[in-house]
């Protein structure tokens, strides 16, 4: 497995493949839009203009307008911030929780490991989306509850990834040496384990951004996530459903933004994963 120092130095090789470079480009555009988008948009995402409802794409409104006359381009750009912020929050909570639980389970072993893995299995027994749907329905539809639900549903995935890695690292000489010398557990985790778990964790996180964004949008599409007038991409597609027959642009552009963002993160994560796994290089 690649150690963390080599991972950073050899990143240049990663982007020689055109697909990985494309992924990086798309991710950069998405992040840029999320961070700076609201400074650059021509109109307000929530201001209505009923005189210009459902107008097709034109020079005034590049993506057209929706059923309340709001500019779709501005709403799509605002939606980038909502989706990416939400996804990062969910993933950070899940990854940190998963890392802690995975480390504890992997390091301590024994009955602690068994109990933690059974609890993890209980959550993993549910199809992810179904459980998220149930949790949000129970708590009440809102974007905040969607974030909570997806964090609850998602952390078990990271426990597995981290635990497997910790179990294999536990047998390495440098870890055993550190334990012999008397390094305290916390320092062991932060200084020795974390840097070697980080590459695979980052890869998994990058791959999961797309999935989480799609889950948020799917829940919003069902009416469980972001509530109007929030310009969340899935909610916009739900609104567009009633008008799609005459106003294709209403559904097309939010969905396109969703697809391109996810493609970008998935290409990047896939490239990272291919790069880290030497067995795939024949």
């Amino acid at each position: 497995m690649v150690s963390h120092k080599r991972f950073i130095l050899n990143a240049k090789n990663l982007y020689s493949n055109w697909l990985n470079a494309l992924g990086l480009l798309l991710v950069t555009i998405a992040l840029f839009t999320a961070v700076f988008g609201d400074l650059l948009v021509p109109y307000s995402p929530i201001e209505m203009d009923l005189a210009h409802r459902l107008e097709p794409p034109s020079s005034l409104h590049i993506f057209g307008t929706d059923e309340f006359g709001r500019d779709i381009l501005s709403r799509v750009v605002a939606g980038a911030k909502i989706s990416l912020q939400a996804a990062f929050m969910i993933l950070i909570v899940s990854a940190v929780t998963g890392f802690i639980v995975g480390c504890v389970a992997g390091l301590l072993g024994g009955w602690v490991d068994e109990v933690l893995m059974r609890v993890t299995d209980m959550f993993l027994a549910f199809p992810t989306f179904i459980l998220a749907m149930a949790v949000v329905s129970a708590f009440g539809p809102s974007l905040r509850n969607t974030l909570i639900a997806l964090s609850i549903v998602y952390w078990p995935n990271y426990v597995r990834v981290v635990r497997v890695r910790v179990l294999s690292l536990k047998e390495r000489e440098y870890i055993m040496a550190a334990v012999c010398v008397g390094v305290r557990t916390l320092r062991l985790i932060v200084r020795h384990l974390l840097p070697n778990v980080l590459p695979i964790l980052i890869t998994q996180l990058t791959l999961d951004v797309g999935y989480v964004i799609l889950s948020i949008s799917a829940l919003s599409f069902l009416g469980l996530g972001a509530q109007p007038p929030k310009p969340e991409w899935g909610a916009m597609i739900m609104d567009a459903r009633n008008f799609i027959h005459d106003s294709w642009w209403f559904a097309a552009f939010p969905g396109l933004a969703l697809a391109l963002t996810c493609i970008g993160f998935n290409l990047l994560g896939d490239g990272l994963r291919n790069y880290l796994d030497p067995r795939l290089h024949t």
């Binding site: 059974r118 209980m122 027994a125 549910f126 179904i130 749907m133 129970a138 024949t282």
Partner: protein
């Protein structure tokens, strides 16, 4: 083997209990008062008290839970607030349609995905490999509900090739219900018109639902094949002078199968979530559309019942998949 099965079985009981605890907790977390939901908004204090006593809502939590469990074992999931029928009846009515849709979608995904994955592995590094990687990534990145809407717009509204939704055209004759799947039943009954009609209705939803599983299976097959292709016994097979096809199918693919089969088990979980979205768009009368409707009408009994049933199905499916893996790969022994 027997010892392993027994341990596995015990684990499953534990997990099943865990699932029921989670769904029970969720149903008690809801912001609305269940008594009001059951009795209706106009029931007086007396009516509410009666409902609370009847449904055991005034009992301590652990007693409520044991009532819940004994109800589940008798397949009582409560009554749907909107349809006013037992939830289990609703589920039994709508499940066959989803099984039909999911089976078709899975069939499409498995056959195409594995084929594409094999070709990508053989042609590693080539243009086909890069293109299939892009296709696979796109498949898991585009939202199913969006593709469904666009496909409907293109293929129904603009081209008129395929129907808008539903399982069968209006005025079509329903075949006698044997499996509950219209395509199979109409074939068995010899009603070829109905078969063709139901197939036309099935095609678009199945294709849209199959997209993500197809993409995942392509990548999984490619990865697994590549891992096996590096093994020394494959080089031996080539050195022996065996035909390429024999090496690929008989030696490489067979050994690459276990992770692929495991993935198929996980994909069934995806199908459950995906079916909610796809069935909503295509008005397919299955569990998915029932779930979407239950969500919109805040029918908590239905939602929790569906969640529980789907989790149990998912659990058993993955158990079967693991057993199949043990059968096909003698190296996996516990």
């Amino acid at each position: 083997m027997g010892h392993h099965l027994a341990r596995r079985f015990l684990m499953m009981i534990l997990v099943l209990f865990g699932i029921s605890i989670i769904t029970f907790s969720l149903s008690r977390v809801i912001p609305a008062d269940p008594a009001i939901l059951i009795a209706g908004p106009r029931a007086g204090a007396e009516g509410l008290a009666k409902v609370r006593q009847q449904y055991g809502l005034d009992l301590p939590l652990w007693q409520q839970y044991s009532r819940y469990i004994s109800g589940l074992l008798r397949l009582e999931f409560g009554q749907s607030f909107s349809s006013r029928r037992p939830v289990i009846e609703d589920i039994v009515e709508f499940l066959p349609a989803t099984v039909e849709l999911a089976s078709f979608a899975l069939g499409i995904a498995v056959i195409s995905g594995i084929s594409l994955g094999i070709i990508s592995a053989i042609q590693q590094g080539g243009v086909f490999d890069d293109l299939s990687r892009l296709f696979a990534i796109t498949g898991v990145s585009v939202p199913a509900f969006w593709i469904a809407l666009l496909a409907q717009l293109l293929l129904y509204q603009h081209l008129g090739w395929l129907p808008f939704g539903g399982r069968i055209s209006e005025g079509g004759t329903m075949p006698p219900a044997i499996t509950g799947m219209l395509t199979v039943d109409s074939l068995l009954a010899g009603q070829l018109d109905t078969f063709w009609d139901s197939l036309r209705h099935l095609l678009l939803p199945a294709l849209v639902l199959a997209l993500e599983p197809l993409a995942i299976l392509t990548r999984m097959t490619r990865t697994s094949m590549l891992e096996v292709m590096n093994e020394t016994y494959i080089r031996t097979a080539h050195a022996k002078g065996l035909r390429e096809r024999t090496v690929v199918v008989h030696h490489t693919l067979k050994n690459a199968l276990p992770p692929i089969v495991t993935t198929i088990g996980l994909l069934i979980g995806y199908m459950m979530g995906g079916s909610i979205l796809v069935e909503s768009v295509f008005a397919w009368p299955g569990i998915g559309r029932y779930s979407a409707w239950a969500i919109v009408s805040a029918d908590y009994n239905a939602i929790m019942g569906i969640t529980l049933i789907l989790a149990v199905i998912y659990l058993f499916t993955n158990l079967i998949v693991d057993l199949v893996c043990i059968q096909i790969d003698p190296r996996i022994r516990y």
